[in-house]
């Protein structure tokens, strides 16, 4: 009887060890301790070519949201696509020594993931700011313009500018550039905004705009319109553009990162000069946002 229980315990321990070791590079990003699972994104990995590395191409893991229509999202065929993804695919075609492997994850796992080398590059309409520039490498070349506008429930006429939000609630995602714009504006204008911070995916935020928990949010109008169509949400951008900032790819600040930056920048400037980036932008947005 004693031998039997020792046997069963050893079997259980071995089983545990094998399942732990048997997990190959899980591509789920989970360096943040919080709700990475429930954010509703699928951790799809997508290599843009079907053959395994035929050459000694450097595999660069790209962290992206995968839920940010139309810049980074999973389409009806379960394929990761979007303007940002396609720009990277164009870069891959331009420089045969690079191969991107896309890893989707929630916004708040992207920067920690970059720090922890879960990815080597981030591509998600990320703009520059002094803190990011100090801590990370940004590509010298930009590839898009990130516009921000107030987004409200369809049919609302009482909100046209940030000043109209006095006494109302505005929601925003922790850590993104729109939050920074709002916080800076708020500090400079007597703190009249009631900012509600969300960790969740932007879809949840827009749903709360629709159900009235918050009165508005600040985000890219292109994204808002695309999301509204994709998820049946009654939201619309209003008012003037509040900002228009160029977007960059973000890379870790170390020796390996410098190499990646050089390659990506070279490819990026090539596709800017030969017009293929402009063509891509017009294909996606009808307007050339790459300038």
């Amino acid at each position: 009887m004693k031998k039997l229980s020792i046997l069963t315990i050893s079997i259980m321990i071995f089983a545990l060890l094998f399942t732990a070791c048997g997990q190959t590079n899980s591509t789920q990003t989970s360096t943040s301790t919080d709700s990475t699972v429930a954010a509703g994104t699928s951790a799809t990995t997508d290599s843009s070519s079907t053959e395994p590395a035929t050459t000694n191409a450097q595999i660069i893991k790209v962290g992206t949201m995968g839920t940010y229509e139309p810049f980074s999202y999973v389409n009806a065929d379960n394929k990761l696509t979007g303007y940002d993804i396609e720009v990277l695919r164009l870069i891959e075609k331009t420089d045969a020594s690079i191969k991107f492997e896309f890893v989707a994850g929630p916004w708040d796992s992207l920067f920690p993931g970059l720090d922890a080398d879960k990815f080597q590059l981030l591509g998600n309409q990320i703009t520059s700011n002094p803190d990011r520039e100090a801590k990370y490498l940004l590509t010298d070349n930009t590839y898009a313009l990130c516009v921000s506008q107030l987004i409200v429930k369809k049919g609302r006429t009482d909100i046209k500018s940030l000043n109209d939000l006095k006494g109302k609630k505005i929601g925003t995602t922790v850590g993104d550039s729109f939050t920074r714009i709002l916080e800076d504006w708020n500090n400079a204008n007597g703190k009249i905004l009631d900012i509600v911070y969300y960790e969740e995916d932007v879809t949840t935020l827009l749903q709360d705009v629709v159900n009235g928990r918050i009165d508005a949010t600040l985000n890219d109008p292109i994204m808002a319109v695309a999301k509204a169509k994709a998820k049946n949400l009654e939201v619309e951008p209003v008012g003037d553009r509040i900002s228009a900032d160029p977007t960059y790819f973000i890379i870790k600040k170390d020796a390996a990162g410098e190499e990646i930056k050089k390659k990506v920048d070279a490819a990026l400037s090539k596709i800017r000069e030969d017009g293929s980036l402009s063509k891509l932008s017009i294909e996606w947005f009808g307007v050339d946002y790459s300038k």
Partner: protein
């Protein structure tokens, strides 16, 4: 590599007042949830002990669901799911319920109370059952009704047994309140995340939050052991503390 290249200690000091702004919120959620959780847990424990029909089945499902699903999922379903359900029902029945006026923290009070109540019900049930049957018989022999026996004899003795476990649950609950930020309620870790996201100094922010939780929990550990000693002051056992 020097220590101040790994961690920006100056930034961590700056963060302390900002992160501390979340302490009242964390404490309020924990205390409110715990109080209602004890009441709920006590009711469920009695239902299970006395096997009250109908209520027993409901309690079993309640405890199983609350303990069996992750707290984060419960928060999500209640906070983000409820509006969707209401919208769907409104489109069918033409209601016009506006839940946007209910504060997020109310949702938190309800979610956390329901969750911790399920766990506490088992603790309380075990504590009540641990009281010597002889005590109950003696109470009956003296002519006490069940409520009287409960109040005068059983609960005081059950409380002594339950305190270490209840203290444990409360301290655990304090840490669980860190999930409240999923519903945009900024408690300790919420403030840490907001600051960290802006400065990209995640490591520093999380460490400050962790230390803050630890300090609060240490205070409560002391309070619980003081309470335990006070409740035990009449005991004359073999093992003397």
């Amino acid at each position: 590599m020097q220590a101040n290249e790994l961690l920006d200690f100056g930034y961590m000091l700056q963060l302390i007042p900002r992160v501390a702004a979340g302490i009242p919120v964390s404490l309020s959620i924990a205390c409110v949830a715990f109080i209602f959780g004890i009441l709920l847990g006590f009711a469920v424990a009695l239902v299970k002990i006395y096997k009250v029909p109908v209520a027993l089945q409901i309690s079993q499902v309640y405890v199983s669901f609350m303990r069996g699903t992750p707290l984060l999922v419960q928060i999500f379903l209640s906070y983000y799911g409820l509006p969707l359900v209401l919208r769907y029902l409104s489109s069918i029945y033409g209601w016009n319920i506006d839940i946007s006026s209910i504060h997020a923290i109310t949702f938190m009070y309800v979610s956390f109370s329901l969750n911790v109540g399920a766990y506490l019900s088992e603790t309380i049930r075990a504590a009540i059952l641990s009281v010597n049957k002889g005590q109950i018989e003696a109470a009956e022999a003296l002519g006490m009704t069940t409520p009287q026996a409960l109040r005068r004899i059983i609960i005081p003795q059950a409380a002594v047994v339950a305190i270490p476990n209840l203290g444990n649950s409360f301290i655990s609950l304090l840490k669980d309140t860190s999930l409240a930020f999923a519903a945009s309620v900024p408690e300790i870790i919420g403030h840490a995340k907001i600051a960290a996201a802006r400065s990209s100094k995640f490591f520093e922010a999380y460490i400050v939050a962790a230390i803050m939780y630890w300090l609060i929990c240490i205070i409560f550990e002391r309070l619980v052991s003081i309470a335990e000693r006070r409740l035990r002051r009449h005991e004359r056992g073999v093992i003397n503390d």
